[in-house]
Symmetry: C2
Subunit: 232 residues, 2 copies
Amino acid sequence: MDIEARTAVLSRSPFFRELDPDLVALSAREAQERKLAKQESLFQQGDDATHHYVVAWGRLRLDQATPDGKNIVLRFMGPGDLVGSVAVFRGMPYPATPVAVEETSVLSWSAVRMMALMQENPPLAMRAMGMMGGRIEELQARLQEIATQQVERRIAATILRLAGQSGRRTAEGVEIPFALSRQDLAEMTGTTLHTVSRTLSAWIEEGLLEGRRSSHLVILRPHRLVEIAEQA
Amino acid sequence: MDIEARTAVLSRSPFFRELDPDLVALSAREAQERKLAKQESLFQQGDDATHHYVVAWGRLRLDQATPDGKNIVLRFMGPGDLVGSVAVFRGMPYPATPVAVEETSVLSWSAVRMMALMQENPPLAMRAMGMMGGRIEELQARLQEIATQQVERRIAATILRLAGQSGRRTAEGVEIPFALSRQDLAEMTGTTLHTVSRTLSAWIEEGLLEGRRSSHLVILRPHRLVEIAEQA
DNA sequence: CCGTGAATTTGATCCCGCGCAAATCCGGAA
DNA sequence: TTCCGGATTTGCGCGGGATCAAATTCACGG
């Protein structure tokens, strides 16, 4: 990817968007690019946090392994999303593993270099805080869901959240544009793939969704899904 | 509270600790103090986020109301903790309500003033990011617990987390130095007060804990509690 | 010191969703 | 085209915790 392409990617990312063009250009020039094959990890949970990354294109799934061998999906990340920064700012090892769910390209900067960029460009630091704040609010919302709502509502809310973050409007409805397994949804909602499968089957039956087997999910009746997510 | 007392409070807070003394003194001088009676709220969920706060003394419980009238406890905050900043950085309304569980004093700064302080003092901005990162990791850990572990383990983990954040070593064990109801624990762990009550009763019976009724909880055998939290 | 009410404890029952098992269905490799 | 393996679907029975109920027990105001 040449510098222009990188600059274009960065200026579209929520992190650099509308910041000083010189800063964006400089950052694009200094970034290292890395490509990941499907299934490949950007780094491993527990590794020292040495770099900040921004997804250029593709899709990552952020997995957290539990001490007892289970796994939960913290989130999916696409173009423009910031990866690894939380750990770098804390000076702690990465708390999760980002895995490419399709071929993916990321740009990276070393911790020290990004620190310097932020110190020289306070607006960049403000952006980083805004993004971390967004992550906190998302996590709080999910915690609230899982703590108070039944499985069906959580699955609906999770699908809607994914649609809001990455959904693409198509002729039939809103498509979630990447492979999302029943297992993934189970690990995002704190349930089992069995329950997710049963729930989605019912919804597909009902004409609410489309996406049997491994095709991408398409929400045919978003409003109805919102009703399920909010049902009193 | 006079300037010296404020300065002392701030220099002990994780937010200002070991930063430039002039900055700490300036911040202390500019802060507004506000006292809250027991049960009083600092602000309401949904209010515009206009100020950053640091707890000087006392204790706040951060509550999040769900759309369907339930409530969850996001965390407890004590001296040195930062309140409200997440929302201010996002430019969104406060997502939760901090309620004083005992008489409490907070220091505050307007959003613009704090922004200026951070832009002039990058290390302060870095601190803020570190603290937000800590919040993110805590939320991720809780999400993992609630998504994968049984209630008993979650309650144990929650008590241990509170002990780690605010616990005081006493002759008998580790005390959680504020009123923490069964209901509070239930709203932190995603269960009901009934289940919490049963679980704690068993632990008290077993000599693991102390704190029937509304006295403060004391962990008599922390190691045993860790075992429960980590039981395979 | 007593009465009142909220917090806690405890009991009994029910049911959502998990665990286990098995069948089925594709996607892709050869 | 066929075969293989992982993903998905579906059935069934049990159990952890929720729900519904009620009894206790303190803290506290008067």
